[in-house]
């Protein structure tokens, strides 16, 4: 019984992710597109939960939905006017090019993941926060510090570039 419910949850998550992705592509309202992206990201967090990776799921929600998506919404609201500028019709002269890029990426990802298909059907054991901490503050400490320093530099650079006019 429990297994059935878990299986149903998997299909619900998959449907949610697909619905979000379809909304992003086909909606004509930018805000709905952003919400579709949000639905997709939450469904992805649900998949992490399904594969017994609660830490990754929580971080996904914290960083992507709580951070990146809110930033995107902010951008939309500050740039956009509310009435009368829904995205024009779906067809554009870029369509063949976009379709080619999409098919190419699909082929690339599929060719990379196809050899792993047996591994991916198994649920990995959760790595737990202790293991992640040991890794990040042990062997990978230099990488971790370097990434942190790089992000800090980028952040300061953005502030300098964005606020550069008044000096």
């Amino acid at each position: 019984m429990n297994d059935t419910i878990v299986q149903i949850m998997w299909w619900v998550l998959a449907a949610g992710a697909l619905a979000g992705a379809v909304t992003v592509v086909f909606s004509r309202d930018v805000l709905r597109m952003a919400l579709g992206l949000g639905g997709f990201l939450v469904a992805l967090a649900g998949f992490y939960m399904y594969y017994a990776l609660p830490f990754l799921a929580t971080v996904q929600v914290f960083v992507y939905v709580g951070g990146v998506l809110v930033l995107i919404l902010f951008g939309i609201m500050l740039v956009h006017r509310s009435e009368g500028d829904a995205r024009p019709g779906l067809s554009s002269r870029h369509d063949p090019g976009s379709a080619a890029v999409a098919v190419g990426i699909l082929a690339l990802v599929t060719s990379m993941l196809w050899p792993l298909r047996d591994v991916m059907t198994e649920r990995p054991a959760s790595a737990g926060t202790k293991a992640i901490a040991d890794l990040l503050l042990g062997d990978l400490l230099p990488h971790f510090e370097a990434a942190g320093a790089l992000l800090l530099i980028a952040l300061v650079a953005v502030i300098v570039i964005a606020g550069g006019d008044d000096r």
């Binding site: 805000l31 939905v65 902010f74």
Partner: protein, 316 residues
């Protein structure tokens, strides 16, 4: 199956807890505000005006559910749930007895900080979909404020996590010692202030300031959808008070065994009432003061607290 059943039971209990805390909270708020302003507050309906809240609840449920003509109707209608559900979800990881939480997760504290912060999304889209300038400004202010105050709040909780050496709320409660309160004093103050700001409550209520923005992001809502916003606010207060009482003050361990719940609920009540007291005592902040407080005062203070804890921990 038992997991699913347990989930439904916990969901019902949590929903009832939030609804009750909203009723008690609104009644307490009106009575305390009245005391502070030398009025009586509700007193006509029932003894001490106690029946005012059930009457108001009934009125709210029966009221017409209005959608403004200029609103984006579908998003407008689901926005309140986007605010309420994350805040309600935050309740599940809070330990309600020493060694027991509804969802005993090894990353419970991260969950409590991450999931309720999703209500920012609901506030943004509620303000935007109303198609009303006041509401949009309120939504943007609310989101900016909540994102800013998330940082000092998370840092202040991190100090306790370092002391306890675990992200599991139950472990933190078990590891809690009385000298954590003086050692962690700055962190407690930072957590308290930034929790009030996260809830958009006075003196940090500039997103819903009634004198300039009517009610901010929920200005256009009526009836039960407005009620859901109210329940989110008081549910958030309940969650912040419960979490503070359990993790920062360790009230679950003040009395032995199951009696800890008495001090726990008392502590929660004291924290919640003091939030009401603060709201009706301090004037509303200006937006620039709000940002200064978050980035130039509370964040450095939280970092100082982290350094203090970091220095002390190796000697324990």
């Amino acid at each position: 199956m038992s997991g699913l059943l347990g989930g439904i039971v916990f969901g019902l209990v949590g929903g009832v807890a939030i609804a009750l805390s909203t009723m008690v909270g609104v009644y307490g708020e009106r009575k305390i505000a009245a005391k502070i302003q030398r009025r009586f507050g509700p007193q006509e309906t029932g003894p001490y005006g106690l029946l005012q809240l059930p009457a108001d609840t009934l009125k709210m449920i029966l009221k017409e559910d209005i959608t403004p003509r200029q609103a984006d109707a579908r998003i407008f209608k689901i926005a309140p749930y986007f605010v309420f559900v994350p805040i309600a979800m935050g309740l599940v990881v809070i330990p309600v007895a020493a060694g027991w939480a509804a969802l005993d997760s090894s990353i419970g504290i991260l969950f409590f900080l991450a999931v309720p912060s999703l209500s920012v999304l609901g506030i943004l889209i509620a303000g935007w979909s109303s198609g009303n300038t006041y509401a949009t400004i309120g939504g943007m202010r609310g989101a900016a404020q909540m994102i800013s105050y998330e940082l000092p709040r998370t840092l202040s909780v991190l100090a306790v996590v370092i002391l306890a050496g675990s992200l599991r709320p139950v472990d933190v409660v078990q590891a809690w010692r009385w000298w954590w309160i003086p050692l962690n004093f700055i962190g407690i103050v930072v957590y308290y202030i930034s929790s009030i700001a996260e809830l958009n409550r006075g003196p940090f209520d500039i997103p819903e300031s009634e004198s300039e923005l009517v009610a901010g992001y929920f200005a256009d809502y009526a009836g039960i959808r407005w009620g859901i916003f109210m329940m989110s606010e008081y549910g958030g207060m309940l969650a912040a008070s419960l979490f503070g009482a359990a993790i920062f003050l360790g009230t679950l361990t003040w009395l032995p065994g199951p009696f800890g719940i008495i001090t726990f609920l008392l502590g929660t009540g004291v924290i919640g009432s003091s939030m009401i007291w603060v709201k009706w005592t301090f004037p509303r902040m200006r937006p620039d003061q709000l940002m200064t407080t978050a980035w130039k005062v509370l964040t450095p203070l939280a970092l100082v607290q982290l350094v203090i804890v970091g220095v002390v921990v190796p000697w324990l």
